[in-house]
Amino acid sequence: MKAIGPRSIASKLQLFVKILFLVEIVRVLLMALAPIDHYGLQYVSFDVGSGPVQVSFAMLRGAEARWWIWAMELTARFCHAVVLYLLMRILEPAGAGEPFHPKMPNRLRLMGYAVVASALLRTVFCAVLLKRWTYTASGVGYSWAVDYDAIFLGLVLVVLAEVFCRGYALRTESELTV
């Protein structure tokens, strides 16, 4: 099976990502409209310095913490939806057999920034939540962690955007060479 072009892996992936994006949009809208108690969220998981932990709502002080988690989850899902949308648009020209599309570099760059922003926002949300609103068992405090993998991936996407930018310039030059 071909990687790009009609009836290729790229075109099938695009369809799959489109479905994921629509599901994610529905989830974002539901979460934005529904109060957190009705959303059924009982705990929240973090990646902290010592590894992943799950903090149940019983360990949180005050109602503000729940709203903070709501904002954190909503932001994360919104960023996820943005990344899925951009991925869908990136796969569109690849599925049509034209990977060096003029808008491809911008979409890749934006996706890179969205991935980095999502990782940084989650870190900030986690840091504030753990510091202000979490009860710590036996006096052991959680230390927040940065998602370096996501930041690395985001920066790779930004570099790839530049590669596609040069690729598009080369293709245009080649096409306009008589």
């Binding site: 245009t172 030059e173 306009l176 060479t177 008589v178």
Partner: protein, 73 residues
């Protein structure tokens, strides 16, 4: 870019149509149209050679330098 293609003028002087010239030179009508409308980014020596041969002219008759066009790019 300051380089201007005056293919239309040379073609008019020789009384050659675009389709006829494309066939004689051996390049596509689309590519010749790109060249004629000054949209080309580059021209191969082989194309220039073929054009000069068919139109019986020098490269300087087809390509001119216009310093006013440099700022516009």
């Amino acid at each position: 870019m300051g380089i201007r293609v005056h293919l239309d003028r040379v073609m008019l002087e020789r009384g050659v149509s675009l389709t006829e010239l494309a066939g004689r030179v051996g390049i596509t009508l689309a590519n010749l149209s790109i060249l004629k409308s000054n949209k080309a980014k580059a021209i191969r020596f082989s194309t220039l050679d073929a054009l000069c041969k068919e139109l019986e002219c020098a490269p300087g008759d087809i390509l001119k330098y216009d310093s006013r066009g440099t700022d516009a790019e």
